[in-house]
């Protein structure tokens, strides 16, 4: 890993700014040379549609939800702008009043988004889709009956900076205004997508459980995605209203919302360039059809068919192009591999001995699924600074134990305390935040992120970029800038371990972390595990089937069988206990 890459977890922060400045210059130059009003208006419409698509990119592309009322949010934005204008609000902002109107329109749409999303987001699946489709249809009908404020008042919205009523000069000026706005909005979206919020959207699309156990509230993640999407929709509506100067319900119909959703999926509009491309398709296809005097509906038919293709193959244009470019680039360098070399002999750490203080207390833990008692009367004291092995045959209740500890089984009985904190009433994300973390047996690493962005997200700001890079290197994981898509599942699980270590929890539960590693890698991994308590101050509970690994790292061992603790104590005592041998290896295999 080169030093230059060490502190950089994802792409350069300056690149988007440079692209933005360049786009701004090109865009403004284009504004000056566009020949006639028609083209000026088409370009304006394309940009406005792109903003709306960027919003959909957040909610559908990143967070993986179906939202079918994007133009309803646009209608809200437009409506608010007109209402503020007609009622002559905030005129003390002078020339900037219109900008403030648009921002308020966006915020009102965002609040609307939160209100709409709140009931739908806790339950998953298509509830949000059902609700948003219903809202789109209902708002449609209501707007048809009530009309927009400017229309009702018989007025037209005034464009900002005294551009005046529609004319070539005014339209040209407004296009310049829209270009500046869209460049700023795009920058905001890029940085949001790269922030922890952005990572939480991608994470929640992949797995809600792992999102929660990395300390992020699932509902907050979904709601923030929906609110940002609605905000962008509202901004687009406001910008559009400045363009047409008097809104009408026909611009924001449900069918166009459906078209926009499908287009967002086809193009992959969570990528800014693809949102612009989507905007071009959304506006230009109808224009082309008009030229050839073909029924405009063919545009939606084409979108629909492309949408079916994109949805059934789970692909989109933007990602396909990027994958192809990445593949080309990567064909010249060797593939990403786990680099888990044995630790140098002089650095090898002994099995940790602990501080003598109890950090995690489990009292009378019981979990019942109906009549099945998955766990009962489990009592356990975990000593700070140790590595505790949790073993037992399949079905012994090991994973249930982890689920109960980390808040996924709120109906368990008994009391769990981490230092002085009672865990029983806390949600999974709270438990992660107070310092009890876990990893999963299954692959729960969202492949839409880069390695660095994922670790940054999971560590929740507890680790500096340098520390993140160090931890990744310690576990032999790939460079932070590598996309997780190109990393194999075994390595992803080690990255998950590294990420949770970087979060500096008090106690870390590892659920079969070494599955998928070769024997040599097991040994090397064990050597690293042993130094976790001293190097990172973390106490480890490890569930593992490989007894070699357990022997080589664990201070003490607890054996579960049929949901009860069969034995608990030092390695030698537990592993020589005849009951354990019988339960674990079967009677005939007694040594």
């Amino acid at each position: 890993m080169s030093l230059a890459n060490r502190v950089r977890l994802q792409g350069s922060p300056w690149k988007p700014v440079l692209v933005a400045v360049a786009t701004l210059i090109v865009g403004l130059a284009l504004t000056a040379i566009l020949p006639d009003q028609k083209w000026i208006n088409i370009v304006t419409s394309v940009l406005v549609a792109s903003v709306s698509l960027m919003g959909l990119g957040v909610v559908t592309g990143s967070a993986g939800m179906i939202a079918l009322c994007q133009l309803t949010f646009a209608a809200v934005g437009a409506w608010v702008v007109e209402w503020l204008f007609v009622n002559e609000q905030l005129t003390f902002f002078g020339d900037f009043a219109f900008v403030v109107y648009i921002l308020i329109g966006g915020l009102v749409a965002a609040v609307g988004g939160i209100l709409v999303g709140l009931p739908a987001l806790r339950l998953r699946g298509v509830n949000l889709a059902v609700l948003t489709l219903g809202i789109a249809a209902a708002v449609d009908l209501t707007l048809l009956k009530t009309g927009f404020p400017a229309f009702v008042a018989g007025m037209r919205v005034e464009r900002p900076f005294n551009l005046g009523p529609s004319s070539v000069a005014s339209d040209r000026g407004y296009l310049a205004f829209v270009i500046v706005a869209v460049v700023l909005i795009s920058l905001m979206v890029v940085f949001l997508q790269r922030s922890r919020w952005g990572a939480s959207w991608k994470s929640v699309a992949f797995s809600e459980r792992s999102t929660a156990s990395s300390g992020t509230n699932v509902r907050t993640a979904k709601l923030s995605a929906f609110a940002v999407s609605a905000f962008l929709g509202g901004l687009a509506g406001g910008l559009f209203d400045g363009q047409i100067m008097q809104g009408n319900a026909y611009s924001f119909t449900t069918i166009n919302s459906l078209g926009m959703y499908v287009l967002s999926v086809v193009a992959g509009s969570y990528l800014i360039d693809m949102a612009i491309f989507g905007g071009i398709l959304f506006i230009l296809i109808p224009e082309i059809l008009k030229v050839f005097k073909i029924d405009l509906q063919w545009g939606n038919v084409v979108f629909g068919i492309l949408g079916i293709q994109a949805l059934t193959t789970n692909s989109n244009l933007g990602q396909d192009i990027r994958n192809a470019i990445y593949k080309r680039k990567m064909s010249k360098v060797p593939p990403v591999e786990l680099n888990l070399a044995p630790v140098e002999e002089k650095k090898v750490v002994e099995v940790p001995q602990g501080t003598g203080r109890t950090i995690l207390k489990v009292r009378d833990l019981g979990v019942a699924f109906g009549a099945v008692k998955a766990l009962q009367n489990v009592n356990l004291d975990i000593e700070e600074g140790t590595i505790v092995g949790l073993i037992g045959p399949n079905g012994a209740g090991k994973s249930t134990f982890v689920d109960a500890l980390t808040g996924f089984l709120p109906h368990h009985t008994g009391v769990l305390t981490l230092e002085d904190i009672e865990l029983d009433k806390l949600s999974p994300s709270r438990i992660a935040r107070v310092g009890l973390r876990r990893t999963y047996q299954q692959d729960r690493v969202p492949d839409t992120l880069t390695v660095g962005a994922y670790v940054y997200f999971v560590s929740r700001g507890k680790a500096t970029p340098e520390e993140i890079a160090d931890t990744l290197e310690f576990f032999g994981c790939p460079d932070p800038t590598v996309p997780l898509r190109s990393v194999d599942v075994g390595t992803r699980r080690l990255i998950e371990v590294a990420a949770n270590v970087a979060a500096k929890p008090k106690v870390l539960l590892l659920d079969e972390p070494a599955a998928g590693l070769s024997h040599d890698e097991h040994i090397a991994f064990g050597e690293r595990l042993r130094s976790l308590p001293s190097k990172y101050g973390v106490t480890v509970i490890i569930i593992e089937h490989d007894l070699d690994l357990v022997r080589s790292v664990c201070t003490s061992i607890t054996v579960l069988n049929f949901g009860e603790v069969l034995a608990s104590g030092s390695q030698e005592d537990v592993l020589s206990n005849p009951e354990v041998l019988k339960a674990y290896m079967g009677e005939t295999e007694l040594l």
């Binding site: 009931p119 298509v126 459980r209 459906l258 079916i308």
Partner: protein, 296 residues
């Protein structure tokens, strides 16, 4: 007041049928079918075109088919389009999440509405009523129309057939097996794709049957008809997309509540929002318990 509320039983019956179909689809194919009513709409418009001998202004076909033949063809078309979409989903997204599978029906909804506009024009068609008029008049001037009795009966019949087939027959066992564990059922030798497509055909055809009958009684433009899926889904949500009977009764109640508000001129806007209110109330109520995306 009571009269207007009870006048909602008619639309309530339609919602009930749609809800029953949506629940069946959700249970058997893991799809919340946004195109459910659009399939029926398309079939109904086909039957009108065949009867009148012309599609759009510009597209004319020589012959006019008798109503019965045209209606049967329309219903078959609805079933076949539905089967085609079902086949696409079964072919390419067999193990995908319900959300991913359902998203496809959003794209087909968009396509179907647009193709319908192209084929049939944007003006509402002159649907010829198949059954019409009052069935009986109750004391107090409350009229029970034939069409509302028809739609409620259709909902009940479909629900009963579904119940009997699913719980009493081998076919039902297989259908439930593929709904729960498609790959496992496939390994046991069940022709998963065929069964899936059959379910899609059946629900599509019933949707066609419903729309052919009810289109004459209400605003019958392409979009409004297709959007009947919204109140239908609201009703299906009352049964959490699981309970057929809750969906059926929910549909009728939804119609009655809408009818009630239609009778209050001051609150006319609320009428359009009732399905949304029902959806939201249901979702809030159902949120009491936390649910995770996967079991472990």
């Amino acid at each position: 007041m009571l009269t207007t509320a009870l006048s909602g039983i008619g639309p309530g019956g339609y919602y009930a049928v749609i809800a029953v179909l949506l629940v069946l689809m959700a249970q058997l194919t893991r799809v919340v079918n946004f195109s459910q009513v659009a399939f029926g709409m398309f079939g109904a418009y086909i039957s009108v075109a065949l009867m009148s001998g012309q599609f759009q202004q510009s597209i004319k076909i020589g012959i006019k088919l008798p109503q019965v033949v045209a209606v049967v063809i329309g219903i078959l078309v609805a079933g076949l389009i539905s089967a085609l979409v079902g086949w696409i989903i079964a072919q390419w997204l067999p193990e995908a999440t319900g959300t991913a599978r359902s998203a496809v029906t959003v794209a087909t909804l968009l396509s179907l509405i647009s193709i319908a506009y192209i084929l049939f024009g944007s003006r509402p068609q002159p649907f010829k009523p198949i059954i019409f008029g009052p069935l009986m008049e109750l004391p107090g001037g409350i009229v029970i129309t034939k069409i509302s009795v028809f739609s409620i009966s259709l909902a009940v019949v479909v629900a009963i057939i579904a119940k009997i087939v699913l719980s009493k027959t081998m076919l039902g066992v297989r259908l439930r097996a593929i709904a729960d564990r498609q790959t496992a059922a496939e390994l046991l030798g069940v022709n998963v794709k065929l069964m899936n497509v059959a379910v899609w055909f059946f629900t599509g055809a019933v949707s066609g049957l419903l729309i052919v009958f009810i289109a004459p009684t209400q605003s019958s433009d392409i979009f409004t008809l297709s959007m009947l899926v919204v109140p239908g889904a609201a009703a299906a949500l009352i049964g959490a997309f699981k309970n057929i009977w809750a969906g059926l009764i929910g549909g009728i109640l939804l119609g009655v509540v809408q009818g009630f508000f239609a009778g209050l001129p001051d609150l006319i806007y609320i009428r359009d929002w009732i399905p949304i209110i029902v959806i939201i109330v249901f979702l809030l109520w159902n949120q009491r318990k936390e649910v995770w995306d996967v079991a472990r």
